[in-house]
Amino acid sequence: MSISNPIRGALLSWSTQALVATVCLTVTAGAWGQGAPIKLATIAPEGSSWMVQMRAGAQEIKARTEGRVAIKFYGGGVMGNDKKVLRKIRIGQLQGGAFTSTALAERYPALNLYGIPMLFHSLAEVDYVRERLDGRLQAGLRDAGYESFGFAEGGFAYLMANTPVRELEDIRGRKIWVPEGDTVSFMAMETLGLSPVVLPLTDVMTGLQTGLLDIVATSPVGALVLQWHTKVQYVTDLPVSYLFAFLAIEQRAFNRLRPEDQAAVRDVLTAVYEQIDAEARRDNESAEEALKSAGISYVAPAAARVEDWRAQLNGVRARLAAEGAVDAELLVEMLGHLEAFRGQQASTAGIVPAGP
């Protein structure tokens, strides 16, 4: 799915979490064993391309493991929001799910890295960085207790509004949406001196209809699926953040599979995710065309002001690292990759690179 995730992470206190975890370990041992289906939750509805491909993948896994590994899907968010899904994973009712980055960021903060506002200038930069860091993030997720199979692009989120937004002044004093639980975006807005309105994704359409919200941010695909395109007229042609999603299966469940079955699951799901990742990019390109056909105008931001925004947001990165919202070491590494890429690009073009 290529929508930004609104769901706040778990709010349980540390002691409560520890207690729950202890109880869950016991329950899980009885609740799920080898041979039982792996139950996965997702917000993607039946019939969506994600679901179609995942079901095909599940069939292939079943065949390759001679029926030892069966995967059951609970689509359309029927298992509840991310918080509920994570709770159900803890008590063994589910073994995993498809998540957007913020859902598991509390467990593994490095997942917030790619979504830092105005970090990437282009998809070419995304590709360069992801090629170098995706594997690290997957390894980190494994250490955090989840097996994942690659990341699927959600695309860039863009500002969408009923009046053109070309510079920061066009946002100031207006009601801009921040997804519930998206601490990174919230901190960025605060830094820019804006007054974000925190709402769950499900309330955004009503917010746009009633005037509770003036400005939202999502990908072109997200705007069409959520039908926000019927309530906005302008898109600011400047990527504000990068969205991605992934499938995660709890390590304890995954590790109980035979080694050869683990390999089959990994092979098939990795291939499925590579395909979803590639298709997502084409989907967003096509969705952008559809938005334009529907009469929505793409407006260019004032170039000089963009550099101002970026300069102001540089401060957010340090704050994010200091507060533990992202992994400081990986942040430095990622910025290094970006700098290297921009340097390469600049030397090719014969210009002096700007800082990341």
């Binding site: 509805p45 391309s49 029927v78 069409l224 959520l226």
Partner: protein
């Protein structure tokens, strides 16, 4: 032409989740209603009362050609254009050999629907240029006298969205088509024995609540469609099971509806062909239920 199996139709009909909404049964109900007000009532009725879909698949093209000829002779007949829109929509969704031909049929269905409403309601000739809010306001001006053409317009457009569902422009247009259908039930809640309610049930089941969908609204539409058809439209029950019960993972409802469909008589004036197809689909859905739920 070979009649495709249900599962094949599902694959043919789209790659995105527009698919379950705009799929076959949606258009079936619409077709069931095309007998009314058509200049070609007898032929339509003969098609709709068939128990053999294969015969219809092979025989209907001659009828389509005949209808095309009649429209060429009488290009200002909104009634003929309306019948053309519906028949090309249905035939394309049910029996197209490939996606390219499905698009051709659907393009014709949409064109006929556009022309029908444009003839009966002049402001509609400029609807394509309107943004969403302006379109909603414009629909308010359509009255009960234009309802048949509005229906043809909606069905033609739905068929087009279905056939082009791999294109995001189809997703972008969906709210407008839904607005057309909403207007139809506002004008006449019982129009065509509840056919429009089946479409609305399917469209409202497309998205789960987490993505802004309204399954509760969908359920109301399906129940109303079944009530209005007196339970005779088995396609309405199959869609209720397929679109709604599966979306909310209500297996009890799913299996009950499909069992009712299989136990009901298929023969029903104006509905037989679609009831036969509905029973075929019900069987497939029931057999796959263990895997789904």
């Amino acid at each position: 032409m070979r009649v495709p199996a249900r599962a094949e139709i599902t694959v043919m009909l789209g790659r995105r989740w527009l698919l379950p909404v705009l799929g076959l049964p949606l258009l079936l109900s619409g077709c069931a209603a095309l007998v009314v007000n058509s200049a070609t009532d007898t032929l339509s009725a003969a098609i709709l009362d068939q128990t053999d879909p294969q015969l219809v698949a092979e025989g209907a093209p001659a009828y389509l050609l005949l209808l095309d000829g009649m429209i060429q002779t009488s290009p200002d007949s909104a009634a003929l254009l309306g019948t053309g829109a519906q028949l090309f929509a249905v035939y394309g969704a049910l029996f197209s050999a490939d996606s390219q031909r499905a698009v051709q049929y659907a393009t014709k269905a949409r064109d006929y629907g556009d022309r029908a409403i444009c003839l009966e309601h002049r402001p509609a000739c400029r609807w394509r240029a309107l943004d969403f809010d302006s379109f909603l306001i414009a629909l308010e001006d359509v009255g009960p006298r234009q309802i048949d053409s509005l229906f043809a317009y909606g069905v033609g457009w739905l068929a087009y969205l279905q056939a082009t569902s791999a294109d995001w422009k189809a997703v972008a247009d969906l709210p407008k088509v839904q607005a057309v259908l909403d207007r139809l039930v506002t004008l006449d809640d019982g129009y065509r024995d509840g056919a429009v309610h089946v479409y609305l049930g399917q469209i409202n089941s497309l998205r789960p609540p987490a993505l802004g969908g309204r399954p509760d609204v969908a359920e109301g539409h399906f129940q109303r469609a079944i009530e209005l058809s007196g339970g005779r439209d088995l396609g309405a029950k199959v869609q209720y099971a397929k679109s709604y019960a599966r979306l909310v993972y209500d297996r009890e409802l799913h299996d009950r509806l499909l069992t009712e469909v299989l136990e009901a008589p298929a023969q029903e004036p104006g509905l037989t062909l679609f009831n036969v197809l509905a029973q075929q689909e019900a069987k497939v859905l029931l057999e796959a239920a263990d895997e789904y739920f």
